[in-house]
Structure formats: structure tokens, C-alpha cells
Subunit: 334 residues, 2 copies
């Protein structure tokens, strides 16, 4: 910048203002400065500018776990929204590790990010958010938004799927198809997503007067779904045999579908499967997966917005899910 100023014959201050089209600078000067900048291959130093302005266009985005493609889909939308707002992504992948997550938040603050979008790792508590939020009584240091997974009793903007509703929709869909023995596959008690979906499903089943669903918790992996499906189909008790499974996540559902196929049968004829998320590939596997769609774009974009500008009141927003009927749920005579 000094070079530009010297080249044009003005001071650094003028050059700075000229580049930002400050009204105090005459058009002629501005043109000359701009030209010189290009000619000299000037690279704007945003970090220096941020230092002075004590505000930054970097937004931290932390994924709890990148191996689940659904988080990747969130990331894409978050990135798109942030780019649209002239912000940049400072990315962290927590690998489901609380320490890594805290470390990342720490680094993010050191790097001087202007906001945080977080898909919290399972087991995250307020204490783990300390780097961004040292003082419980005050607000977080920078606008912070949780997406996809909620944390209860936390006074931070949260943008979530309405997971209870999603669980209920899944159950209702199966019930409408005549299923009475339903099994829940995947999830656990350590994320709001899993808890809420399961609770929603359980409630819908209770309301329909059906026997409580069997629950098979497990990691959100294709492999788990695959094994679970094969185990279920191998059971020798035809009376207690579930006819349909609600998967905590599409990822598990994909595994179950593969497992069912591997057992030599199909979802619709032996064990109906309904997923949740509506990941990109859900409609492109065979047979296409019936699932509850999560509004990943809506959540990602709104979350990103809340990380840029603090929303009026810290709120938890729950976006409505949608049932996507495809081919993995069969009708049962009932």
C-alpha cells in the first residue's frame, strides 16, 4: 500500500480511502490509485484491516464429524450463505471429539473469527463452549449458532430440524402402511437429534395404541445398519419379528437396505425401512429410500445468518421436515 501511495504521489491514508471508495477522495485520485494497485499487483491485507477494525469476515464452521455426508451437505449450504454475505469459512472437523472441538473453538477465537457455526459433538456442554463463551452471564464473544443438533437450556441461537415431528412422521407413515411391529435402529441418548426423533416416533406409536417399539441403538454408520438388518432378518421368532424399521439416519437406512438385499430379500417384502435426512443419494439407490427430509439448506443458511448477526432474541428455530415416499416401505395386510 505504501508502494501505491508513493507511486501515485499521495499518502497511505489517501490510498486506503481511495481503494475503499471513500467519498472524501476525488474520482481522479481514486482512479489513479486503483490503477496503481493493479499495476503493482497489490494484495489487500485483510488481516491487518481486521486488526484495526477489530472485526473479522472469517466465520468459524465446526463439524462434529465429517464422515457423515449429511454434515457435508450442511457445510455446503453454510458456505454458500456465508460467501453470499461476503464472509469466509474457517473450517474445523471435530471427529466427534470434545477436546478437538474445544481446541478448534480456541484457535478460531485466536484467529479472530467474527462468528461461529457449530454442529456440536455429542456430549457438548456449556463448559466446552468456553473459548467462545467464557462468561456464562454474558453473551458469547461473537455471534454463535448451533445447527442440526441442539443443546438444551443453552441461551444460544439454535437452528434445528423439528426432530420430534420427524420421528412422528416416520412412525405415522409406517403405521399408515399397516405396520404394527416397528423397530428403531440407530442413534442413542447423547444427541438431541437422536433423542427427539426416537421420542417422536415412540409417541406416535403409543398414540396409535401399538406396542412399544423395540430399540436398537448404535453408531451412525452404514455398517451398523447393514449388520442390524441381517440380524433382524435372521431371527427365528416370526411372531416377534418387526416388519418395519425406523432408522435414526439415512446413513443407517442405506446400510439396512444393503443388508436386506444381501439377505436375499427386499425391504418392501421382508422389512420396510424408513430413513431420516433425505441425503442426496436416497433417491438414487435401489430401491429408492423412503425417508423424512430435513431442510438442510434452510438450516444451514439460517444458521450461517445467525453467526453473522446475532438474531433479536436467542431462539431455537425448528424447521419442519417433510415425508418423501419412495420404495422401501411396503404395505402390510393388517
Amino acid at each position: 500500500m505504501r508502494d501505491i501511495a508513493e507511486d501515485v504521489g499521495v499518502t497511505v491514508a489517501t490510498a486506503s480511502m481511495a481503494l475503499r471508495a471513500h467519498p472524501r477522495i476525488s474520482p481522479q485520485t481514486r482512479t489513479k490509485v486503483t490503477e496503481a494497485a493493479v499495476r503493482l499487483g497489490y494484495i489487500y491485507n485483510r488481516a491487518a484491516a481486521n486488526l484495526r477494525q477489530t472485526q473479522s469476515s472469517l466465520i468459524a464452521v465446526c463439524l462434529s464429524d465429517a464422515s457423515n455426508p449429511v454434515f457435508n451437505e450442511f457445510l455446503i449450504h453454510v458456505e454458500a450463505e456465508l460467501r453470499g454475505q461476503g464472509r469466509q469459512v474457517f473450517l474445523g472437523i471435530a471427529r466427534d471429539d470434545l477436546t478437538l472441538q474445544s481446541q478448534f473453538l480456541q484457535t478460531a477465537m485466536e484467529q479472530g473469527v467474527g462468528g461461529v457455526v457449530l454442529i456440536p459433538v455429542r456430549g457438548t456442554t456449556r463448559a466446552h463452549l468456553r473459548p467462545v463463551w467464557p462468561d456464562e452471564r454474558a453473551e458469547p464473544l461473537v455471534p454463535t449458532a448451533l445447527i442440526s443438533r441442539g443443546l438444551e437450556g443453552l441461551n444460544v441461537p439454535q437452528v434445528l430440524n423439528d426432530d420430534r415431528r420427524a420421528g412422528a412422521m416416520a412412525a405415522e407413515c409406517l403405521i399408515a402402511h399397516g405396520h404394527r411391529r416397528i423397530i428403531w435402529v440407530g442413534g442413542g441418548q447423547d444427541t438431541s437429534t437422536a433423542r427427539d426423533r426416537q421420542a417422536g416416533a415412540a409417541q406416535a406409536i403409543a398414540q396409535a395404541g401399538l406396542p412399544a417399539m423395540e430399540v436398537l441403538h448404535g453408531p451412525t454408520l452404514r455398517r451398523f445398519g447393514l449388520d442390524a438388518a441381517q440380524d433382524i432378518l435372521k431371527r427365528s421368532d416370526p411372531a416377534g419379528q418387526p416388519t418395519a424399521a425406523i432408522c435414526f439416519s439415512d446413513l443407517i437406512a442405506f446400510g439396512m437396505v444393503a443388508g436386506i438385499l444381501r439377505s436375499g430379500t427386499t425391504p418392501a417384502e421382508s422389512l420396510s425401512v424408513i430413513g431420516c435426512d433425505d441425503m442426496e443419494e436416497a433417491e438414487l439407490i435401489h430401491p429408492p429410500l423412503t425417508t423424512i427430509a430435513v431442510d438442510k439448506e434452510g438450516i444451514g443458511r439460517l444458521g450461517a445468518q445467525h453467526a453473522v448477526i446475532r438474531p433479536g432474541a436467542p431462539v431455537v428455530t425448528r424447521l419442519p421436515p417433510r415425508l418423501i415416499l419412495r420404495a422401501t416401505v411396503g404395505q402390510v395386510a393388517g
Copy 2:
């Protein structure tokens, strides 16, 4: 930092050195400073430090397109390596758009990144790299590494899969299973990955004295593979019918497998399918996909290293692929 200094009763300079465990500072002072830092909730301002040191721990990582999960897998390994090196990820997603890619590189330089890892968008030329590499005759401004996709005649470190070999291995595998009419599905002429894989396959087929393979270019999408498979199976010419397909990418192979299943048959009995990449789910679909594994971790890590420290000579490194035999290639009598 000033607060700490005042609190302890030393100057800012001392505090700074104490925090970095400079040998000139006495242990007592250091302890006091460290304690004060914790007590006051001090947050280190890395940007300011970088400004002074004119070097940065941020590394730009630009993905050509995040919708292909394989790039996500690369990202995971790149991130892991960079974290291990004490670097952070400044992420960009180019959505297959040259302008977006250049813009991102520009922003990255403004942000003052210390290195760049790039999976170039199709059609990238030297000119598009100008933000990081304004002067053709000089080196790039910061260590820059291309991964996964190569750019010919470019004096930059490139870490790639040996794609010719991968293509050849795929063809050889099919040939060994007795296939004589092979079709190539996916890719195009605009990425080194696609060109090389196809060329490798074509060469292996020629060497085996078989008729040249039919080529069906198309986007790297499940949908394209699915449609392609159905089209191929619908053909009415039994003589000209290919018995096996080499897919440019696993993503296409997944689609083809689904398409074949949808047509009411299976890969092994009607149209064998071999993919390339060995994405995570390849072994977890039904039937498990035979494919050529790309060393994503090796490429990601090495690429990251080259973006941190310029390797001795700008080289293109080609990591060897591996054949993974699973269940989508059937034996043909012949």
C-alpha cells in the same frame, strides 16, 4: 496482553516473550504471566502476530466441488494433516466454477494464508491461479499444491493418483474375468483424472487385442450412472452389447449398480461394473462394489505437506492405486 502486563507489573514485551517461553525470561515471571493470562481470560490474537511476522498458520483448501463425496474424503485427510502441523484450514468450495475458484484464491491471499491446497476446477489454467501466482517466471507467492487433479505443464507440486495405471487396472480386471466388450462410462476430456483413467483403460484393452471400448462421457453424478445403466441394458442388439462397464468414478458406479438393480437384474449377471476411488460406501452397498482404490489419505496428507513447506523440486507425485475385488464383476465364459 496489555492488561496482563499491567496486572503482573511488567511490560507488554515481557509478557509476549513470557507467553512464548522465550529463554530470556525468568521462570518466575513466566509463571506469573501465564497465570494472569488464564485469570484474565486472555485470547491470543494470532492475526496480529502473523501481521508482525508476515507469516500465517492458515492454509487455504479449495475443493472444486463438494457434492462429490470423494473430495470430502480428501478434505478430511488434508484437515487432519494440517491440524497435526499446527495449521488451520481456510476452506473454499468452488462449485465447479472457475470464477469462484479465482475469487476464493484472491480472498485467501488477502486473508494472508501461508499455503494453498487446491483440487482445481475443470478447465483451470495458469491464468486462473494468478492470485497465488501472479508472476509466471517466479514461484507462487506461497507454497501451493494441486491434489487429485493435475494440470499439465505447470511448475507446481502436484500429488495425484496414478490414474493411467488405475484405468489400466480396471480394464485388466475385466479382461481377466473374460470380458471382451467393455464400455467406459463417465468423465470427459476436461480433467486429467478422467483423461488419464480412460487412456489407461483404452491402452490396456488395445494391448489385449480387444476391440476399442465404447465411450459414454457424462457428469460425475449417481444419476448419470443410473440412467446409463438402464440405457445400456435396454439396447436390443445382443451382439454389440457390452458385458462390463468401467466407471470413471465410484459415484457413477453406484448409480449404475442401482440402475442395473432397478432393471431387475444384477451387475454380475448382466453388466459387470467396476468403479474407481473406493469411496467409503463402496463395500457397504449391495452388491459390494469392485473398484480401484485411490490412496486418498496419502494424497491428502502429502498435498497438505507440500502446501506447508515447498518440496525440494516441484514434482508431480503419482501414488499407486489398488484393485479391490468385491462383487460387481462377474466371470464371462469366453
